[in-house]
């Protein structure tokens, strides 16, 4: 069954007050994500992939089209505060910039307290909550001693992204939008973050949507790839199909330009 269905989603930004200009950031896209499926939305900056992610996360409203999560339109059928909190518990995100993901005024664990407080059944007392936070940190391979009470600038980018995954582990959402979660992390810590996300899927059947410019990452992790260009999905399908037999001009160009490890690019 499809967990998330996106139908004819369009987002138009308007600029200026008197002489309005319109920019179609996302143009009539449709796709769906099944339970426990990992999909990737691949595109360069400006392709509309991040705008799509924000609409699914219910951060900016679409201009037209529908986003159905578990059969409910997330922009029309969520009316009460409680329904919204329920949605927030079930759909979560990990963002690209580990530095911008933390408010510099608060200790790192604030982000985990936020998650604990959002839970349907919050732990009855502070001690239990702290235990849960510690457990989540151990779960993502961090010694709680290393980060509790620290401020964001005192821990590394890789650790920050792991704490973000710990936040997802506390919430156990049904869908995680991972917006370039590894692009600002050192090569040697990148694999660990991908593995942690994959484990969440194995354990809890979480669906994951990677938003990335990195076709290599998408090829490696996904069950399904959507290639976006200028607000439209130009190529979709199984990773092998998209990477080995691309049909659209743009995806051909993309695949032909990406440096490979075991092959030399043609025409250099």
């Amino acid at each position: 069954m499809s967990r998330l269905v996106v139908e004819n989603l369009t987002k138009v930004f308007s600029l200026g007050f008197f002489s309005r200009r319109y920019i179609k950031a996302v143009n009539n896209i449709s796709f769906d994500i099944k339970e426990g499926e990992i999909v990737s939305l691949v595109g360069e900056s400006g392709s509309g992939k991040t705008t799509t992610a924000k609409m699914i996360l219910r951060l900016i409203p679409p201009t037209s089209g529908r986003i159905l999560f578990e059969g409910k339109d997330i922009w029309k059928d969520i009316k009460s505060q409680e329904a919204l909190r329920d949605f927030r518990r079930k759909v979560h995100a990990v963002f690209q910039d580990p530095f911008a993901s933390y408010n510099p005024f608060y200790p790192v664990e604030r982000t985990l307290w936020q998650a604990v407080n959002l839970l349907e059944k919050s732990p009855s007392n502070k001690k239990e909550a702290l235990e849960l936070i510690k457990e989540s940190l151990v779960r993502v391979g961090i010694d709680p001693k290393d980060i509790l009470g620290k401020y964001p600038h005192q821990i590394s980018g890789g650790q920050k992204q792991r704490v973000m995954i710990a936040r997802c582990w506390i919430l156990k959402p049904l869908l995680i939008i991972a917006d370039e979660p590894t692009s600002m992390v050192d090569a040697s810590s990148r694999g660990g973050i991908i593995q942690l996300l994959e484990e969440l899927r194995e354990e809890q059947g979480t669906s994951i949507m990677f938003i990335t410019h990195d076709l290599g990452l998408a090829y490696y992790v996904s069950d399904n790839i959507f290639v976006m260009k200028d607000g439209e999905i130009v190529e979709r399908g199984h990773p092998d199909k998209v990477v080995l037999e691309p049909t659209h001009e743009y995806s051909k160009l993309l695949v032909g330009s990406i440096p490979k490890l075991y092959r030399k690019l043609e025409g250099l």
């Binding site: 909190r85 927030r88 979560h92 910039d97 408010n103 982000t111």
Partner: protein
């Protein structure tokens, strides 16, 4: 975090000078009337006396003690300044932050109001309102002044918050189910705290100057004593022409020193917190 922010301020010589002058006058205003127990409104037959041991700063035409007036004047001028600053800061912060957070139509309306207030000559409106009020308390004057000096601050706050609201941590707080109010208080206000404080200092300044301005044209508070009122009486009774310097020089110095110290405080804060202006 807080001490980290405050420490560099006290390494700045200009800031120390500014804050010392200000605290000196603040203490004069608070403690002066406590220790110098002369009623500033009591009229005596010793009128227009130059400074003497009995009246350290002399007396005015009605035989009132100038030093006592000065202490009370500083106190009320600061009181009006603070009150006006609190009013302006609250209005500006609310308007600016809600514009930035709510966006869309709320933003359009709030910004339209802000621009109207910003482009209206505020002193003129203040004069109009003040002249309609037959009895003007200190508080009324502060409110009149406070209502007109917030727009530039609201716009600056909005611009700053606009850039903050597209940061990931704000999204993450929204995704943790935060309401707009909680978001503003926990995530947004701390980022504008230093700017808000700087502006608050400037607002006090505006309040004190505004009061002096209104008083000089006879639209100041109708009861009590303020630095502006002292100057107004001195002007009305031609103290300058008649050479009664002890009457108008002390309040003049007090106003200049207080407002100058506030300006120094706010510009040095800007220097310390805005790395682009920091001297190498």
């Amino acid at each position: 975090m807080f001490s980290l922010m405050i420490r560099p301020l006290f390494k700045n010589k200009k800031f120390i000078i500014g804050i010392s002058i200000f605290i000196f006058f603040l203490l004069l205003g608070i403690l002066g009337p406590v220790f110098y127990k002369v009623d500033p409104t009591e009229m005596t037959w010793d009128y227009e006396q130059p400074p003497s041991s009995e009246h350290p700063l002399g007396t005015d035409t009605y035989g009132r003690d100038v030093l006592a007036q000065l202490f009370h004047g500083i106190r009320s001028s600061l009181y009006i300044g603070f009150l006006a600053a609190i009013i302006s800061s609250i209005i500006g912060t609310i308007v600016g932050s809600f514009s930035a957070v709510k966006k869309g139509i709320t933003d359009d309306i709030l910004m339209a109001i802000t621009n109207i207030v910003l482009t209206t000559p505020s002193m003129l409106i203040a004069i109009l309102i003040a002249s309609y009020l037959k009895v003007r308390s200190m508080e009324a004057v502060a409110v009149i002044l406070g209502l007109f000096q917030w727009p530039w601050y609201a716009r600056a706050i909005r611009a700053q918050l606009m850039s903050v609201t597209s940061r990931e941590y704000v999204y993450l707080s929204i995704m943790a189910g935060y309401s707009d109010t909680k978001l503003v208080i926990e995530d947004l206000l701390p980022t504008i705290a230093t700017y808000a404080f700087m502006s608050f200092v400037l607002f006090i300044n505006g309040g004190i100057m505004g009061e002096a301005g209104l008083s000089l044209i006879g639209l100041g508070p109708t009861q009590g004593i303020s630095l502006g009122l002292m100057l107004q009486w001195a002007v009305l009774l031609e103290a300058v022409r008649r050479g009664l310097w002890w009457w108008f020089v002390p309040p003049g110095i007090a106003i200049v020193a207080i407002t100058a110290s506030l300006m120094i405080i706010s510009t040095t804060m800007d220097e310390v917190f805005n790395p682009k202006l920091r001297e190498e």
